[in-house]
Subunit: 509 residues, 4 copies
């Protein structure tokens, strides 16, 4: 992982791109529960959404009114083990069915399992994990198991655990410590039960948000001596790792899988291209044709939103601070404006900047009647929603996730999801996107675990390009896509290995 | 991809991306004139094309039948100087008009001149340049002059000099040594006259192809002691610099401006999106609607070609070797196939891979009657044109740049530009694209010349992102595009300087 | 309304285009309730959908467990009138609010009201209407009132009445006879109460489905002597009128507003372009990018579906029986295939033909696992759903409107809305589309009522182009669109009246 | 639109749609040669363009300096016939090769020939034709021959005849009377030689512009007794036929093939979608990305232009007078403006209205420097070019078809083709489009010739839909497109004949 030779020397380290890209609702959460659920990534919100989604939701058996804390229960799985703590081990069968459905939609992980029938790339790995516990995560965990790893797992969010899935995992022998509706104390207790076990010392960490890593740093710093690496999935967790690294305190290699090419393109460009339409339709039933829309920010998310709306017949304006992205917007056929220039005339305002107060009260005051305002960008900071909580404005909840804010003269602004992420609040994340994330995590674990001494130092790394390419290649069969292979002569001509990597690190895709 | 590890950390340097991207016809040229004109970049071809283009061509006064070599002539400009060598100083007035027209279309450089009225960022700079000598280059040179630099200039191609422009530059005091139709000996003589002057020692190099740099290395290695840096524009020249660097022989900082974001996007994605249509129409007058097309390669060039043809109603198939680009093709709505799967059915085959023998004789044998074959990728290697030079096939030149290759059974293949680059052979490069290139060069010179001691080592650098952003910002007024500025509060929140750079180096745009 | 000179003479009258376009679920309904609710148009389904939509639904007060039949109740409005029959006159206030919200989204009707402040184009008109009774219809009725008409109204569907809206209309003096959940006897009783009133003889009919017209034909044929015309909105009703006309039994002019240009484009092309995406997302949360889709039929509905899916990155195949539409599909960039050629490979099958058994059991047997099958075309005939009701197949309802049909080998087909119209079952119809329909109805009434003697014979007419243009012009302000006016000189040059109509009747738009 | 009625039923005949659609440069021509070449259609310009195109041009042998008038020459073909008059019968071989190349690109006519091997639908037909004489026309004529017809032919334009093709036709026995550069007297002499022959009385007319028809009306009115019908191709000729019909003077059936669906879509939407880009590129080498464009008129031509430019990244504004087309523009994502609103900011102005003085001097005065102005619509009336011929403006011809008009302050407007049709002046018409036209003509002749007594009266007819569908179906194999056939059950359900026609006449496609 060479250095990015250039002007890094002269510019201070600044908040990296992933802070600008979407997902993490941390700010918002901090206000509510400052200590631990405050720093969460995409996956938390995803899993919340996914409880409403396709394969499951309605049929879930969660209406148990069993109020006993799982910590106070004595449960055993059918093989007699009690090394787990879940809501109700009897829900295992239902959870198993959910996992089986998810398996069908995650062919890449299933392909990994098949390839691992011969060699076990994770043989000897002892992975402690802290992620959302959903059917998709279960497919990941059981894949890690099939690849040779032993795993212990806690939830990275106190609400997102699907109890049935946790039960199914426990039943099939995974020490899982998680249930829906943990208290803060429960949360740390579960993590501790994963880490602090007699006769079992983890050598790999899979984290989502950084809480697990933080706990080990704080309580068991010596444990890092045997740990070969950390794989971190979330924006927030990655940010914390970079801070550790800058402070010289990172004592093992860490892999930032959030910024891998494949994951980024799917989380942002491809996913948002669809979810902007979905989110707007589900909340407002509006027609896109002929509508005037301003999209603030032309990063991957903005690009996806603009392309989709343009294709549906909307007239799209773009605002940008970065002249390169601005020039891209021009070449893609969008008028580049300042927000003030169009705020009086647009029908929809969409923020995708990662910035704060992009839409201010002053903008809101100038919008026309019925203007729709929503956020696809980052957390809930982009629209200054707080500024709308003033006495002269009336809020009217007209539908789930839809508020009318009414001005004294009768003007109504339609605010979606109270300024939180539209795509996570009002649409769903396709399993295909989750599959890419989970495969990326699995490969990062394999890479770090098998890397020869010295390949990785005590630093934060991006996923090696070859692994990134491998994630992509595992998803091609879904599209019946046929990759061309280089001939020997061509590989030599290009100076490439026939199996990749095929691009230099600075390639932009 | 069978092994469970990646070779990225340890991988040997491989042929970089720019070999895969288009432009340099070097291979082809090597065969013809192995010594020096063999290694040329985009600009040569561009300038050739541009002689056919909009502002000029027809009216050029070049039909002089003066056969005397410029080296044997005694010429003086109106101020009495004879420190130049051009075809005919009397053509200066005509050349000046050409330069003035070009100035109108290169607002970014003109803006730079204006900004330089106060400070002269190149005061003291002594730049020796070796590029194509066209009206656009003249605007660049006179801009460098306005910024405070002294310049001496030679041509990087024996054919591409516009004599009138060279005369105009000489008339206004630039020591220019170049004319159309130099011999090989002339070529090196001109370069030497730029470098080897009493009382003038260059401290900056602007090169296009690496010949100037090579000459100084060979003849005047000590000169590098005073040289602050090299700016190199071409694929080939950059390749040579990386080789020098790898060999530990690069003794000054060098800047690879070929791979700057803005330049790449315009040279490849945006320019090719338009030129694929233009090149096909001008050569074949075909209708795009309903045509089946296979595009080999889904890099920036392939993406541009696919988007344009899809928009015009063609049905587009894509071939790829890189699974990440392949997945992008899928998500963008293209069937990913192997060439063999569709070769019998397609109406058009377009190569954009940077590879060799992508289209083989076997493929050509299987194409259907009237299939059009052309290359947008790299040099003339992608289509195995040589394999068509066999006795049983008849070649019929039906139009400039269009050959029918006729099989014994009467089947005709329509081969464009004999497999050379379609966009350079059969369409033109808009001045806007040349403006971006020239501005990038100017800013790279300013950066290297003004960089504090130690910022740049003896290595090859990409253009600093801030400069890249600046190039973009200078071109925004063309589109009446209005950039948004960060507030202090926002800049602080994002951890950014209000003036940029706005993205981390690994940002992919 | 000139004759369409051409081959009409030689071709027998065939089922017109509107049978091919979507909407009417009549076949399906016939099976359930053969007598009267069997012949319904778009609006019925629309209104059903709209009860789930934006402005209302959740807050409706409909949970009244009052089981008394409205026919048995004595109700008076605040002005003392009891010439109506609704569920509960006390719900009027709530209904009024719904109507006010709808008014905001139907600017065209509101503009008509304004223009009518001077002259009353419907002064003297006595309109008997039979349509769905929704907030949008109420805006239409009150507009007709503002234009000078007296109205009496019944529901065209036993389920679709919004009781609160009916109450509000009754409260403001409209004799409305309708409630949700009428019996068949109630249905005809309500219609009769509109028609058969002492001292009130209708002179205009506004029908949706033809039941009202049918009732008058059967019971009060003499009434037609004073009736100036019928305006019919639905596919089914129009079909019945053409049959009457062919049989020589149509005794007043009738206007087919279903086939007006503006209405057709919005009901089909523009509306379906959006609702195909919406319907698929809401039911399956699928990702469109890279999916292979076959769309059966390339009429307006098919064109809308194809354009939307292509824009979202799907690979779209088209089947067609009509060579002209087929050639359009080619030129628009879609592979034209027979269903059998692609049925094994596609991820989604969408029918938009208006035909029956387009997707047969044989096709269904050959689809791949997880293939999604849905209908955007006509009724529920296009997919042979009945063929799936065999013992070896298992049906699993996984979600509202989503069934998995499971083959003995485990293959699952995802069937949406049991083959009924996806856009009506699983998405919503924007108010903007309903506004166009209602405005078209109002203008058709005005035209027929004011037409000079002899302009219209006892035949079925399309809406005059000028009226069609007027509907469009009333909706332009929504988009802040500015129409250009012809100068006198230009109008003369073109031989046009400055106010239109602007196109000959055969113009295709 | 203030009155509450429509004038459609009663409206006087107004200038039909085809006056609004493009092509005919008649106005312009009238000024030059008022008598006969003044009324010409697309084909003339097409054939002019086609001399520059793909298959031919450069190699033509036309540089003969033989100044003898063909009328004064004695020529015989190899079979001894002298019933023709062409420039030089010896050029026949070259012309034959041109015809053979055209045959390859006109598969529909070749398919017609094959089908005619059994029956000869034109057996006994004696067709007198007056069209442009090009390789494509020759393929049509020889197809008519193969179908059983005898033909005599003259040119409809004094300049457009390709002498070699005329020679080849004469050599193979077609009595052709035409050469390039006829005088006006020659023109009528040639026509007369086709009509006025002993022992040969035409029974069918194929006309392009109406001159042949006019001549027979004037000179040999009795001839119409035996004539079964007229097929007219051009806008102008059709207009003259409608005038005859209105005046009650049309004494045989006539078929307007100009307005058939297939021909219209290809001449306008599909062809212009491509030629707008082609015409702009060839003349200006401009980049489309980011450019602001205003397109005046949103008919088929405007729709094509807008779609293409939007796809290439331009920002497109639309002006319209017709509210329906205006609403379509809105729904397709274009801002609908008045020209004045955007005239100061746009980079390109394109007229597609069919109107006159759409762009006035006042508009031109307000355009910004370097604005490009061109016409895709109708004749040369749309841009008031005459207003630019004033002393204070300087015209500078910078390239073929490109003028700079320079204002006193130095502002330059780039005027293309002096306001004539860009697509005919500066790009070419693909053979595929010509193939559709020629096939339409052949089928119209077959229909009229074979129609049973009484099917056609003395009126102007559109091509029967079934024939229109047949033209389309003959072109589907080019795209390897596979049409679906109705089952008997489906045909019955739809009330359709399995072989079409598939749509009612008012269907809009």
């Amino acid at each position: 992982m060479e250095k990015w030779d250039s002007n890094e020397g002269t510019s201070a380290f600044h908040v990296p791109e992933w802070m600008q890209i979407q997902f993490a609702d941390q700010k918002q959460e901090f206000n509510k529960r400052p200590t631990k659920i405050g720093r969460r990534s995409l996956s938390r919100s995803i899993s919340q959404s996914s409880t409403d989604s396709y394969s499951s939701a309605a049929s879930y058996t969660d209406s148990s009114d069993d109020e006993t804390s799982p910590r106070d229960k004595q449960q055993k799985n059918s093989k007699g083990s009690s090394d787990f703590c879940v809501k109700n081990i009897k829900q295992a069968e239902f959870g198993r069915r959910e996992i089986e459905i998810a398996e069908q939609e995650m062919p890449a992980l299933m392909a990994l399992r098949k390839r691992a029938q011969g060699e076990k790339p994770l043989a000897g790995a002892k992975i402690v994990g802290c992620t959302h516990i959903t059917a998709q995560t279960a497919v990941l965990m059981e894949t890690l198991g099939a690849l040779g790893a032993q795993c212990r797992w806690a939830a990275c969010n106190i609400y997102s655990t699907l109890n049935e899935v946790a039960a199914a995992l426990a039943e099939s022998g995974f020490p899982v410590f998680a249930w829906k509706g943990e208290s803060e104390d429960d949360f740390w207790w579960c993590i501790d039960r994963c880490v602090n076990v007699e006769g079992w010392q983890p050598n790999m960490i899979l984290d989502d948000g950084g809480d697990l890593t933080h706990w080990i740093y704080k309580k068991y710093p010596n444990m890092f001596k045997k740990i070969k690496g950390i794989v971190e999935e979330s924006v927030t967790g990655v940010h914390r790792l970079y801070q550790l690294s800058k402070a010289g305190k990172l004592c093992v290699p860490a892999m930032n899988v959030n910024d891998s090419v494949t994951k980024q393109k799917f989380d942002n460009l491809y996913c948002c291209r669809e979810s902007i339409l979905d989110g707007l339709k589900r909340t407002t039933d509006m027609m896109f044709g002929g509508k005037q829309v301003v999209v603030c920010g032309y990063g991957e998310v903005g690009k996806g939103c603009c392309a989709a709306l343009k294709a549906m017949g909307s007239i799209v304006y773009v605002t940008e601070i970065d002249p390169i992205c601005a020039l891209q917007a021009c070449m893609d056929g969008f008028r580049l404006v300042k927000l003030n220039e169009v705020i009086r005339q647009v029908d929809i305002v969409i923020t995708c900047t990662g910035n704060k107060n992009v839409v201010t009260r002053e903008h809101l005051d100038r919008m026309k009647n019925s203007c729709i305002v929503c956020n696809m960008g980052h957390s809930n900071t982009e629209i200054d929603v707080a500024s709308l909580r003033t006495p002269e404005l009336t809020w009217e909840r007209v539908r789930s996730q839809v508020d009318h804010v009414i001005w004294p003269d009768g003007k109504r602004i339609v605010l979606l999801a109270e300024g939180r992420l539209l795509n996570l609040s009002c649409s769903t994340v396709p399993t295909f996107v989750l599959s890419i994330t989970a495969t990326t995590q699995a490969l990062a674990l394999i890479e770090l675990y098998n890397a020869p001494e010295g390949r990785y130092k005590q630093d934060v790394y991006l996923l090696p390009k070859k692994m990134d390419e491998y994630v992509a290649s595992l998803h091609l069969p879904t599209f019946d896509a046929h990759l061309t292979e280089l001939t020997d002569e061509q590989a030599k001509y290009l100076g490439l290995n026939k199996n990749g990597p095929f691009k230099p690190n600075y390639y932009r895709y």
